[in-house]
Amino acid sequence: MVRSRMLPCVNLWLLVVLVFVPGASFGAEKSIKVGVYGGYFKDSFDKHIFPDFTKETGIQVESVAEPTGEAWLVQLEQAAKAGVAPADVNMIAQTPMLRGQKTNLWMALDLNKIPHHKNLLPVFIHKYPDGRVDGIGAVSWYITLVSNTRVFPQAPQSWAEMWAADKKDKLGLLALASNSFLLEVTATTFFGGTKLLDTREGIQKALDKLAALKPNVKLWYRDEAQFEQALKAGEIPMGQYYHDVATLAAKEHPVRSTFPKEGGILDSGIWAVTRACKKVEEAHVFINYMSRPDIQKKLALKVGTAPTVKRELTGLTDAEFAAVSSEIPPIVPRYDIYTGERSDWINQKWTEMITR
Amino acid sequence: MPGLYLENIEKRFGGVVAVREVTLELPQGRFVCFLGPSGCGKTTLLRLIAGLERPSRGRIFLDEEDITEQPAHRRRFGMVFQSLALFPHLTVEENIAYSLKIRNVAAAERRRRSEELLELVRLPGYGGRGIAQLSGGQRQRVAIARALAIEPRLFLLDEPLSALDAKLREEMQLELRLLQQRLGITTILVTHDQREAMSLADWIVVMGTDNRVHQTGTPLEIYRRPADAFVAGFIGTSNLLRGVLGKDGRVRVGGLALRVETLPAGMSPGGEVTLSIRPEEIPLLPGGREGENHLSGRVTFVRDVGASIEIHLDCGGIPLVSASTPKNRPDLRQGDAATAFLPPAACVVLAP
């Protein structure tokens, strides 16, 4: 799921504007427009990544703030129909990646022009069902089990502890099926893995199990800041949250982030290029640069993302690595179920479950 | 003694004095007019009586009961406002019966009473109408009926007729007067229109721009014997001549020594005085004449409005107005020489 602290209200307007005013690509030779999630990510990239990239390659970068949710996808789609690309390379969340595939929105990438792809963990080479590569992992992060150390002196071990009776009205969880990945967490924790979610019956099982969790949930949040503040204060002393932000917060607040034994939730964004892109060469150069172990190390240290490349290549110390990632095998979200035929059904069931 | 008694009433709004040191006695059953120019405090005085304002100083008594602290809704005074203040969301009948409903009078009785009152103000059958459907004069009557519905101990009217056109106003004045006489209810009407006061009231309280009461009395007394120059000027038209009282008891105006019949007590020779002579008391003679209290001059303007004729003279710098009926019309035109006679009996000597 997309992470940003921007509020989604403006997005519909952006959409309307984009439908009527297709943005044209301007700019001199050797420049590139990169779409990054607005807010924290864009600010960090503008500060730590893009200047060095320009210094090394001579390619000017103009960063574009992407709106949250899937509005950006809709904009890219509309723009591609008009033959323009609002940005040449886009940081795209997993679910919209799959949605874009349906309309053949993404340009197939040439791995030969991205030699550093060999460094990547296999999960970060994104492909069309027919095997064409349509995206390369950009950034990844973990959602873990966080808790307030004052309220819970003992660190939790398992996601299952959320269901415990002493957690009544104490949890803060993400509000949507497709950004909380709680179905995957439930399936992995209680039903032996996310394969459970292959069938409706399996999904229903996970939903029923989650329904039992409801009395323990005080806040179903969409806005990160709200939960973070309540977590620090101990108002809502447990929940799921972003590992890197929680680790950062732990320096000054009674907060800890734990990788449960079932694993943290690994979510990621992908660099993708729409078929309307006219700066294909520069786009490949950029993606290759971003896949370099040293750049991934820099991202881990400066931005707090988990590296997309193999750990040993990064040279991160144990402490540095632990601040952003874990050796415990992650729970990888089943993005496919949120884009497939069952997506509307899942969403409906999910909303019914939590609003009842 | 039954009636309304105001004792040394003063009202200040912030630093502004609206009513200054008013002590008044209003006998029961009278039709009283508070008369004065705008800003003289007459409406404030009425609102003090109604209990809508609290006096800054002084007490109010009704039939020897101190009502100074009594809230407005306990006083049972009927009041008609300048804006009429009819309730726009209620029908005519509901407006009239409002006070009855407050006092839990049964619906049938309310209906009967409001029909009776509508009859009284000559609007029978209007009960079901909305306020917006009435003409100005009709609203006036409804407002009066509503105020009378509580069987008020005092009937207060704040310039209720000022919004009406001249003809309707005169009709309503007459009706109001007849109504008051029929009901015998003590009534106070605030007005700035001296004609209205003269034709309605049997007792007038004249207030001045200094927010004091200048004179109280019957209309005729006030007209004939104004207490001071302000009253003389405000009530009707008057020739006001400034002069000095001589040792011989004559008043010197310009180079003339005018004889006056009576001198008010407490005036010493050498003091400045104002002479007031009503225009209709001044006969005019054509040509120049000599004699006691004769002023000769020239006609500057003739105003003939049919029912009366006004002739303006300039007598060596002293402007004079004379009024006469068409029957006694002197044959004078603008520019003619003429002489005015100021009868000693008509010369009222006032403090300056």
Binding site: L7, T68, A175, D344, N347, E352, I354 | A132
Partner: protein
């Protein structure tokens, strides 16, 4: 003299302007929404410009009905609360000396300038167990131990009423300021106590303004989608929240549009009913 008719585009400009504004800012966006609501949703993708009624058919679920009912209920509830509190407040405000009125109005307008996010956060902190007002009540010995009142129904009511209150006062201010001050005075002289005067005359003569304000505040409240997420529990999420979820998080614009259109129709119907119920006597002044 016969007035000349305006000739040419230039002369008609003053008439064209409102039409253009209406078309650009209302008709076109609404038209797009209406059109999209009939488009066919492609699961996992976008939508196709094909006529389809499925979006509307998909609305008829218990979930949608419940959320719709709750949205209407809380909007109406908060509108009643705001007008109930705001009407006496505004009445007393209009009776104050002018300079003091201005101070109050400026304060209220400054509240309007706060974004819903700030308001929601402020309330969630104020009603929290760790830093909220309950701590104050504990110190005053009115409460045994600090409590958490957010998220919850009343937290949401607080937030919504807080946001709508200045709006309510600003809408009520002109009719109340225009109210003939002699009306309540007349009622007083007719024997009505101040309280009775307020209800029979002030409220009575402004009945239509009150209903109009209720309707406006109700409509204003219908749009709330941020507060329920922060101050409410999932059962307090309004339809606007669901619409946002569909549109933003699930890319199901056709369903979101259908929800919005249906919501609007129901709301307009309710507003129409309220207006009809509030119609005055023939000839009564507004």
């Amino acid at each position: 003299m016969i007035a000349e008719r305006p000739r040419g585009a230039l002369a008609r400009l003053p008439l064209l302007y409102p039409a253009v504004v209406l078309i650009v800012f209302f008709v076109i966006p609404f038209g797009i929404m209406l059109a999209v609501s009939f488009f066919r949703r492609e699961p996992g993708g976008f939508y196709l410009a094909e006529f389809s009624l499925t979006n509307y058919a998909n609305l008829f679920t218990a979930l949608f009905g419940r959320v719709l009912a709750f949205s209407l209920f809380i909007s109406a509830f908060c509108a009643l609360l705001c007008v109930g509190l705001g009407f006496p407040f505004t009445y007393l405000l209009t009776r104050m000396p002018r300079p003091r009125q201005v101070v109050w109005l400026v304060l209220l307008v400054s509240v309007l300038s706060l974004s819903a996010v700030i308001v929601a956060f402020a309330w969630s902190i104020m009603l929290s167990q760790t830093a909220g007002v309950s701590n104050l009540l504990v110190r005053l010995k009115l409460l045994a131990e600090p409590r958490s009142w957010s998220p919850g129904f009343w937290a949401l009511v607080c937030g919504m009423a807080y946001l709508a209150f200045p709006y309510t006062v600003l809408v009520l201010y002109p009719p109340l300021a225009r109210l003939d001050p002699h009306l309540p005075e007349a009622a007083r002289t007719l024997g009505a106590s101040p309280l009775r005067t307020f209800f029979t005359v002030v409220v009575g003569s402004l009945r239509r303004a009150i209903i109009a304000t209720l309707v406006m505040v109700f409509a204003f409240n219908l749009g709330t989608y941020l507060l329920p997420q922060i101050l409410g529990r999932p059962q307090h999420w309004t339809l606007s929240v669901l619409i946002t979820d569909e549109a933003i998080y699930r890319s199901n614009l056709p369903l979101a549009a259908a929800m919005a259109v249906f919501f609007m129709v129901v709301s307009l119907a309710l507003v129409g009913l309220a207006m009809l119920g509030g119609r005055g006597r023939p000839g009564e002044e507004a």
